[in-house]
Symmetry: D2
Subunit: 337 residues, 4 copies
Amino acid sequence: MSETLRIAVIGAGRMGADHIQRLNTRIHGAEVAAVVDVDLARAQAAIEGIPGAVALADAEEALNNGDVNAVLIATPGFLHEDILLKALARDIPILCEKPMTPDAESSWKIVQAEEKLGRKRIQVGFMRRFDAEYAALGDIIQNQELGELLMLHHQHRNPTTPPGFTNEMLINDSVVHEFDAIRFFTGEEITSVQVRLGKATKNAPAGQHDPQHVLIETESGVLADVEIFVNAKYGYEVGTQASFEEGTVSIGGDKGPYTRTAGRWGGNVTPGFEERFGAAYDVEIQAWVDAARRGEIGGPTAWDGYATAACCEAGVEAQKNGEKVAVKLNAKPALYS
Amino acid sequence: MSETLRIAVIGAGRMGADHIQRLNTRIHGAEVAAVVDVDLARAQAAIEGIPGAVALADAEEALNNGDVNAVLIATPGFLHEDILLKALARDIPILCEKPMTPDAESSWKIVQAEEKLGRKRIQVGFMRRFDAEYAALGDIIQNQELGELLMLHHQHRNPTTPPGFTNEMLINDSVVHEFDAIRFFTGEEITSVQVRLGKATKNAPAGQHDPQHVLIETESGVLADVEIFVNAKYGYEVGTQASFEEGTVSIGGDKGPYTRTAGRWGGNVTPGFEERFGAAYDVEIQAWVDAARRGEIGGPTAWDGYATAACCEAGVEAQKNGEKVAVKLNAKPALYS
Amino acid sequence: MSETLRIAVIGAGRMGADHIQRLNTRIHGAEVAAVVDVDLARAQAAIEGIPGAVALADAEEALNNGDVNAVLIATPGFLHEDILLKALARDIPILCEKPMTPDAESSWKIVQAEEKLGRKRIQVGFMRRFDAEYAALGDIIQNQELGELLMLHHQHRNPTTPPGFTNEMLINDSVVHEFDAIRFFTGEEITSVQVRLGKATKNAPAGQHDPQHVLIETESGVLADVEIFVNAKYGYEVGTQASFEEGTVSIGGDKGPYTRTAGRWGGNVTPGFEERFGAAYDVEIQAWVDAARRGEIGGPTAWDGYATAACCEAGVEAQKNGEKVAVKLNAKPALYS
Amino acid sequence: MSETLRIAVIGAGRMGADHIQRLNTRIHGAEVAAVVDVDLARAQAAIEGIPGAVALADAEEALNNGDVNAVLIATPGFLHEDILLKALARDIPILCEKPMTPDAESSWKIVQAEEKLGRKRIQVGFMRRFDAEYAALGDIIQNQELGELLMLHHQHRNPTTPPGFTNEMLINDSVVHEFDAIRFFTGEEITSVQVRLGKATKNAPAGQHDPQHVLIETESGVLADVEIFVNAKYGYEVGTQASFEEGTVSIGGDKGPYTRTAGRWGGNVTPGFEERFGAAYDVEIQAWVDAARRGEIGGPTAWDGYATAACCEAGVEAQKNGEKVAVKLNAKPALYS
């Protein structure tokens, strides 16, 4: 590991603000060095409380800032091409939110520029690949645990769409995730796409036909369909059911992949407490670190330690006699009340 | 926020090594400054690759190290008392793995020492309070969403026990988690404990009676039982079912709290992608940061961005004509193969 | 098989009326011959539309009726002893709703009378033994599929209780089902019972403490507890979780037994359409028989047969060309509209 | 209700034998009068133990039998037309297994013949309409509980196919169920069908391409797709997920319809013991009737009644003192051992 990343975040909208928060509170080895937004007030609001970060209105200025050694791009997709080319020219690490660019021609320009540079600097924000269930299904497919993958069925549902979400964005901003997921799962390129518009909900904005049925084929003939429904109202849900020669696996609705094979349905039992409570440990330690840096504690107190010790004593005695054993506690000191 | 925590980790066994890894790769705002273990080789192995960390055989030496401003205690419980008192004397933040100490008398000494210090410095490692499901059930109880809490049923199952795990440890190291959870859920102290030994598995080590049934009562009369079964073989499982005046809520087996009330069973739909994929975003950004610091990328490439852009183009066309539209890609540059 | 059973149903209350309906519409090989109720009008209402059945106010008269060759007893439990003795004297088949009698002394008299008769004539109405999930869990226990049974945890929840449901009835009429189920599961007698009254719901009638925790032990030391909660409001729920040496099995909440063993959770996939739709076939055929006896049909029509045939034709064509094939139907004849 | 149905079952193969068993053991108000099969030995085997039933090799002879007043047709589909026309000529109730006939032209002839007869005599064997979950989903759609129905997704999976199951039968014998179900759910006719052959399993017999993706449209534009996979190996599974304007409902994998709407997922809690144990009561009473007709009992004995009465007595005492109360039983009489 070399030095800490000093990142310029371009775009302080919803996703940008979310990433700034993440970098500043949960990510190890990185700091927010600059936030860029054409709305400078929004950039300034975003850096509040972040020591050493600057707010700027111009992306190029951020790239030229000597304190910046990496860039995270979270502007709308149609603005990506220009920033990507400039960041590639500086040969620094780039995380670019999806879509990389909104069309194949401009995307191809980026690919060519990176190829000319001669090393991969751009990572595209298809975050589903980092979801534990997607990763697990990917492994099952690659390892052929249930034989060859034959079909994929996806649901993709959003409660509602932001203003100005067009029919084209339903493909470019929503189904694009399944395009990548299908490529990720199969390790193949997509060879054809069919879209059928069925009966439409009355809850979609004017000009948007919702839901739609997308039928996709890959190089080896795997059929993958997507029910895209972006005004589903009831909540957010994305899921996949994969059909194999020897069974099916579903993700998105259960705790980890849910399998049907060899006459049984079900999933894996959590093997140990590290797997069950690993995330809780992370949250616990981060809560303690954050509180400690403020001179406080962020969780159970010494009183909690004492009270449970008294329970344990009673428990061990009860274990021996099979009777109800009273738990006795000293008065609680004022410090803990 | 003040300065970064420079932490001395006391104990480099299973839990200690786990926390060292956590602090060094996932926690923001903290660094491992020292690792202490009576087995110095184990301490040295634990700091490998951590810049600026030292390995020591003596806890006091670590507490005297000017570079250390916080301590995380992960030794066996019977060793905690001495280190806690010394760390309290230095008035630094302390995270102490459970149990704080193994009996009420020594625990009470710690409480008194901290009270004398006049501020809370010790946080005890009851990590279940930081698990999302435990927190959600706690909220449902405190808000009386389903009326008064009446009963609690817990399962606590481990696949197997480490060598030397005695009958007493089954209470002190395992049921102690439920003692704290019951106190956390009810906001009350425990008033009595009964333990019944039923039919025993043949898979427990000699001298250990497993499983056991623990029946607990709290100040307001809530009955809470625990099925403790530490040689359950099939995996790890901890769960709670809470019975209220208006319904029941289960955690530990489903994605989030599972409720039965008013003629319906079920849970909350995920409201949005931030909730569904928040953890994946964290993993994604951390993977990128880690790769970028090595001069690489850690996820989808520009080629992935290009190929999905081509799919989107075909999709938008297919949306208009309802037919199967072929996806055409340029040859993949060598950089991405 | 000998002659059809001509049954006298004693008691035309809730359970009695339910059984009369069952015998008269769904049970093969039996007919309702007489209905007895002290409230003669209730008996008369119960036989309406049942050819050949008589309404009576006196059980003895029914037993003396030459047309009666079997008896089903559905009066309150405290009335059972007298009728059972009289029916035993006639040596006819007897189905007696639970409890057989409400106390051990009177039950023992019945056992002695039947023993003197020298053959088993009484079947007691513990219907859970006939539930597919209870039967399946019983098999898993008896076959030791997951090793020795160690513990049983039961929930027994009713939305509310009928008027006059006392604290004693909570044991005698509700927990009695678990008493039988535990005996059925273990094949052992129960050796001790403990009842703990915890925090009570305010929704129970005066004089009734609800819920209660019942802790039971069997001959081999199996601990079985019951959370009995008869004013649970949200609905009806009975379930059992069995803990074995090699895993756990739950019934009552899933489709069939739900198992955790060997690192996996889950259940059995339905092996075929007979298992999945067997009950639907029964309903279908009964619907057709009932409609046919009225000169009608009770399900899909010839038009449905025609319309699906046309779909199949289109489907087979579509299978060959991969295109969308229109389905064309003739005008629907008036008979089917 | 008029007289009992005296049914001629045509075809004693798998489905025919199943229906004979059903009529002879579980259906109230009907008897098997005749069984017809070209393989007379198979017909004779099928009537074994059925009093009053005759075995015949010719369907016409059965229809001419004065003892027969209804017919159930369970031969292969291509034989249906002739028998249907003859049975219609006799104006008796007809239950015809699906498909009514294998093509639209012959089906239309049947429709015309019935229309000429002037009353509906044919019921077609689409048994899914009688499944509780299909019926419940149908109700939700018709009542527009979640707004307009927009899309339907079906899985239809068989573990394997019988010998000679062709590509066409995959539509005519398997997808035909979904054709009817979609018509049943929507109350609309189907207007188009598209079939796409994707990647094929190697487990299908020669000449059969499996799985296939069928995309169907109804009069109002509802898109319904079917993943038909008849060599799925792992078991039998049929399920539907319906997407509405206000949520989704799934059947086939859970106990009753599973809904996602208004921020919640889940289903209905069973309201009472009649719903939970209704089927068990049916099984119980049938078991008792069957045993009683043989002079035996078919379930819990008087000893079971006595032993549970003793438990209840102990329980009521334990309820009062909160202690463990022993259960004492007399020695078990020989009759019950």
